[in-house]
Symmetry: D2
Subunit: 368 residues, 4 copies
């Protein structure tokens, strides 16, 4: 049983391999009447697209998305939306060595052991190219959210590249779009540029931490057990290639706090809604949104495809070394930023639809 | 739409509130022919049971589990297994204040905003008592795993309490059962005892980090996208009350590594299976198990119910203070250890069943 | 993978065997704020209860339902509702012969072949006692429907017993409650009484056709593909023990019609809504409700447990004869009427929740 | 919440509208290592393809299927298989009238009332063209079944067209492929040809009954409750456009039988497996296969698009008449035969995968 679908009410099934003819996403459950066209989706795909600067893989893909179904005269009809992206720059000769050798830190070996067959060209299904389909689906989610929750804002950025972390006190939302790293700290962006250039030239790679924040989400989305908003966010982020850790709000550091420190004290805000003295909870209590910013962080490990030789074995069990030439990202975390945003959009829309299924659009628990 | 179920092939639906007549788990999809009786489940529940020493809540619950269905003459029949635990020490008068005031850092407020109605006695559905049902269901999973993967071992322990972390070089598996903290470092266990006693007396609380390891899992469980082993583990752990972060293998720290550092180099082991120079991956590559130890960590925030007064509001929006008297855990992370083990067992059994659905019991990709 | 759950947004998982300690239903996804208590559920269970007259099994069960969770101060909280019914009159000695021999027409043999283990007492999980849990869950669905669609009415009745079918021109809704057969034709009810008494005395049994109608359902519930209202109704009814056929509207007879005959012509009704000249469609077009009555019929085969000897084999493959003594229903279809109503209620509530998830409570396609 | 997916372990999501650029199926959960190419799928699509003789719609579609993912070097990889069929002969000008008027007996009106928007060209998502995607997915299921259950045979045929039913005593399996009606009775095939020609010329249409039989299915597939083999078959067939009734084995007629008549007595066959004196059960007892032939029938209503004028209303509620010119099937049941076979293949593969998930490939309950 293979599960290539995420979401419950807004369901996205991605399909396609790195070097097949195409990849895409089948999106089911989108509300009808949402304004949608290919331009709106392309905008997001272009942000993830490889080959835009020297810091990402030099594979050149147009990543042009086609809407094959579910949209009529510029509006969603409520039926499945098929999004297709043709692969155009596959150049699979680069990957010859990988057919026989397993890259350390890569899915090559586990994938082979599971299925006994794999499309070894570019990692097949385990390639980060799969995330293009997520970004396309996330574009659909954003369009629906624009209709249903127009005040919602989702923003992702990088906090850390290898040993180098931003300074929160220099955080500047406007800086994010002004460097190739989604870095909200202009000083650190320069440092990263220099650092990553060195890694790239030496054929190495490095990990990253990304944070995604949603502002303007109303209180009440989620559920106390299993169908929790934080559970689904954790699953969504952990499902992105190369992610090894996920945090909500204070995250792993919440272990170091006392109850007094961790308590986000509650006031009545000027807008007549509850307000909080802090946001250790990351906007989620008991699996349910509080109305504060929803804050998620995740760590992306370094790309396993590197020019540095590593010891490994062949499919027949012979010891050998491997150097992965192909075209790879020295810091794949950079391109994970729009992917994280897309996953956030999908999860929030899903929970909005889940909520109105059970509780409806009408009044809920009032405070004040 | 409320989702109180986890798992795909082995599905657990928990039900019940902290102060209702009973709580439990409906377990569907268990293979037939598994040896199972109440004693086998009680063993695990007793490890999670409150009131066993001064470091956990003084609520006294027998947590006696009854099997109401799905077992005949000591064996599972393949039909749903209903596990029921009666609540016996509810003492709900302790909770009077909470009906009107929201505890900072607790689900009280989000829960109210979502549903407009809640069982405020002891947190209702958002109480950590719900985890008793998980431990019972985990006991069923362990029994099935004993039949299907007899070499599998699952062990959980605490790594950190507040500011105090164990020393990995003093790690001693035998120490875990010899202190009330599941601490694998006997020196640190003494320190924690003193530290927690102080917090308890002052009516404070503190967070914790727990690690759960599965040894002996074969390679090949999981899937490259969404139905990933690590995605499901992350969701399972994040769904536990008070968890704010989840890590697989190197976790958040993988962001600090280079590709060379992160690569777990591959050898052929003496047993004719692949072996690895290290385990940064935590036993999972591309969402699929490698045969190495599966390593998961999660952070538990401090209990929000504390004796220290915190500012908050009432349901009618009036500013006030709250002191939570009831009976609470100064470090609820302690009792999260057997819960984490139970979730690990459920996820691994689920993935074993998913794997044999798609790929069968027969030979898969061979190495060597 | 065993699936004991039906429904998507309103999900019912039944559990328990005929002769275990208890059986019940775990109901997830119910909206919060629904008025609910045990008396409301008991009313429906009493209608299905065995032993009420000579035409049903003489097993005497109180079928007293307990609500173990999900209801607080007389209202649903939005969390799982656990419904438990204790088995009290199990008398399993009656079933001794069945442990070794397979009843022709019964699940004994297929069940054994599947699992290699079974609770042979009274059919275990394949017993019609399982339907008590459905009726209890249906009571929850009705309570929610009363809140959300107060104009909805669900009514079931028997159309046929063996060779004897009612006359539609004598249809009298008031007659249904005035005979033990849910028969809307008082003349036929008398005939059935005589007929069934003869069958009962000879130790035989007979099949039946039941019709369930929902009046007052708004247009727009369902979906054009797979998640169709008629697909889900067909599955719900076919999932009831002993059901072998399901029809919507004209049903199997629609094969005999021409397009002109089958067309339900459309007018504007006096209430400003579309009205129809006929209802061959059974209230569903393209999987979506039209606002007409939803009409479902199903056939229940005769009970396989009969006093007439039938040839069969033992578990060791020896030829033998079997006579099933126990206590059985000569026409199990009678007690299937409230079960069919319950399944209708569950499916309609589910589709209402699914609809408002995708489309919301707001205005949809207007006519006129 | 829209559900365009069927199946649990082998999951098919269809997408696309009658007059959009393309339609197709996303197939998830297929076992790895199955031989598969486009030619194998095209064979089944060609059987359903319109425009092959005067008895089906004159729309000319190549229905050429492309495999976009999930297959590498002629074998399935275990990842999602995307099947795309381009629409080529859309000629949507034929449908102009339908944008404003609702066809009686068609999904036009319910669809509009649900979504408030629809792709009115050719019925959009509610068009029978959607079934091309099912046939393609069924081709994948058949390929997997050929690997996993090589003795399985699936055959569909028509039993009835309008008033004219075949004679079972003239049943000849070889006749099925020798007439355009999938008719196993050569005498009746001639009669149908004449009958349908008359209906076609008069612009009328007529219903049909189809039977699909699976031979060679082992005992033990299915489950006693909800995840029943017959429940899933009923849902699968009822989900096909225009189907209004589904029967298993004796079907609706089982209501007329006594327990003695309905009992399929059991013997030991010469092959050492249980054999039966008859097959009223249609190969399924208690939701689980017995090893006998699985027999399913379903009724297809007449096409609602007819040249005979029918009274209806416009979107603005004005009374009017409608004559549907377009290109339609006088007996759409004919082309439902390969669709029914495809659905049977998908359900059986799904249940095989479900079974081995829970019970494994190993020995089960032995008889003899």
């Amino acid at each position: 049983m293979s599960i290539n679908t995420f979401g419950r009410a807004f369901r996205v099934t991605t399909w396609g391999e790195s070097h097949g003819p195409a990849l895409g996403a089948t999106v089911d459950g989108c509300p009808p009447g949402v304004q949608l066209d290919e331009t709106m989706l392309q905008r997001w795909l272009d942000l993830r697209k490889p080959g835009q600067n020297k810091f990402t893989t030099q594979r050149r893909e147009a990543d042009a998305v086609e809407i094959l179904s579910g949209v009529f005269e510029g509006q969603t009809t409520g039926t499945p939306i098929q999004l297709m992206i043709r692969n155009t720059d596959q150049r699979s000769k680069d990957y010859g060595d990988i057919a026989e050798k397993f890259r350390p830190g890569h899915a090559d070996i586990s994938y082979w052991q599971k299925y006994g067959i794999r499309d070894y060209r570019g990692g097949g299904r385990s390639s980060a190219r799969e995330t293009a389909a997520r970004v396309a689906a996330g574009g659909v989610a954003r369009a629906a959210l624009d209709m249903l929750m127009p005040d919602l804002r989702i923003a992702g950025y990088m906090l850390r590249m290898g040993a180098h972390e931003i300074a929160r006190e220099r955080f500047d939302a406007e800086a994010i779009a002004q460097n190739p790293f989604w870095c909200p700290d202009a000083v650190m962006a320069d440092k990263w540029a220099e650092y990553l250039d060195g890694l790239r030239k030496s054929g190495s790679s490095v990990g990253a931490v990304i944070e995604v924040v949603a502002q303007g989400l109303p209180a009440g989305l989620g559920a106390p057990v299993y169908g929790k908003l934080d559970t689904d966010l954790a699953a969504a982020m952990m499902s992105i290639n190369a992610v090894k850790g996920v945090e909500i709000g204070e995250g792993m550091a919440s272990a170091t706090l006392t109850g007094e420190e961790n308590a986000d004290e509650i006031f009545m805000g000027n807008d007549g809604k509850p307000a909080y003295s802090s946001n250790h909870a990351g906007g989620i209590l008991g699996g349910i949104s509080t109305g504060q910013d929803v804050v998620v962080r995740f760590a992306v490990k370094p790309t396993s495809s590197i020019l540095q030789p590593r010891r490994t074995i062949t499919r027949s069990g012979q010891p050998t070394e491997i150097v992965t030439k192909g075209r790879h990202d020295p810091c794949v975390g950079i391109r994970a930023v729009p992917v994280g945003e897309a996953m956030m959009a999908c999860v929030l829309l899903d929970h909005l639809l889940l909520h109105r299924s059970q509780v409806g659009d009408g009044p809920r628990g009032v405070i004040g």
